[in-house]
């Protein structure tokens, strides 16, 4: 039997052979998705959040942001859309950003637990916020 010729084709090494610091393909994809989502939501929020702050603090003083103000504002389709988009974008942006930061300070099991906590927290808040917008706007 002749010994097998040295192979020149490059095959993807198994996951356990990868050095810990070289991300595999899935990790690179997640990184790219995070990168694009973080920046896309960021651009959207730069308008939505500054507009929200201006309306609730400068156009109307914060002392006058009572339930009548909320009801009046959310009777317009523009503001229902505005607040819904802001809720989703802010939570997605926050979840990705915090998860990214945590990766620098925690590793292993602790990081996984923290990541899941962030995802669970933002999911609960999204549901709460969406229910609130829907009920106020009588959607």
């Amino acid at each position: 039997m002749s010994s097998p010729a040295p192979t020149t084709s490059v095959t993807r090494p198994a996951a356990w052979e990868l050095p810990a610091l070289v991300p595999d393909e899935d990790a690179r994809t997640r990184r790219l998705v995070d990168y694009v989502l973080l920046r896309a939501t960021g651009v959207v929020l730069s308008v939505l959040v500054l507009g929200h702050f201006a309306v609730t603090h400068f156009v109307t003083d914060v002392a006058d942001d009572n339930s009548a103000f909320v009801a009046r504002r959310l009777s317009s389709a523009l503001w229902v859309t505005w607040d819904s988009a802001m809720l989703a974008a802010a939570l997605a942006h926050g979840a990705i950003g915090v998860r990214l930061a945590l990766a620098d300070y925690a590793s292993g099991r602790r990081r996984r637990v923290l990541h899941r906590t962030v995802v669970a927290l933002t999911t609960v808040l999204f549901v709460l916020g969406a229910i609130a917008i829907a009920r106020v706007a009588h959607v």
């Binding site: 914060v62 002392a63 950003g97 229910i131």
Partner: protein, 161 residues
């Protein structure tokens, strides 16, 4: 202060505590020379200057602070769907002087985080030179400072009649 506002204050103190704890973690890691890698598409952070590093840390801290407050804010505004009365019980606390001062800090944080975030996108997309990158940072800090002071004057003005 009513009972609903007292519960809000507990949540508010938790938010401040979370921000404080996170700041300690970030500061300790930074003091040890910890990794401050940004999520650059081409890997690594886009700038390693002193200003860039300070901007990175400030971006991280303001981002966490805004997110922590957002968590509380969604709950307190969400009270409206429980009852309008409950919302109106809690809401006046935002007009008190301690909360108004907090809102000024929040405005500075939002302005810097927004400006710096848009700057990082510009740096990445247009592959700006270090000189432009640093110049943009100065512009962001100036806009945040001027806008923050002007906005704070408006937010605090009801306290002075």
């Amino acid at each position: 202060m009513n009972a609903a506002q007292a519960v809000f204050l507990v949540g508010f103190v938790l938010v401040l505590g979370a921000v404080g704890a996170f700041s300690v973690v970030v500061a300790r890691s930074a003091a040890r020379g910890g990794r401050a890698a940004g999520l650059g598409l081409r890997g690594g952070s886009t700038e390693h200057s002193r200003g860039g590093r300070a901007a990175f840390l400030t971006h991280r801290l303001t981002g966490f602070g805004i997110f922590a407050f957002l968590c509380l804010h969604i709950v307190d505004v969400g009270l409206y769907s429980v009852s309008r009365r409950l919302y109106d019980d809690v809401q006046p606390i935002y007009g008190s002087w301690p909360l108004r001062i907090f809102e000024c800090g929040l405005l500075f944080a939002i302005l810097f985080h927004t400006g710096n975030g848009l700057r990082l996108i510009a740096v990445d997309v247009a592959r700006l030179s270090p000189r432009w990158t640093a110049g943009l940072l100065r512009a962001v800090v100036t806009v945040a400072a001027v806008g923050g002071v002007a906005g704070s004057a408006l937010i605090l003005s009801p306290l002075f009649g």
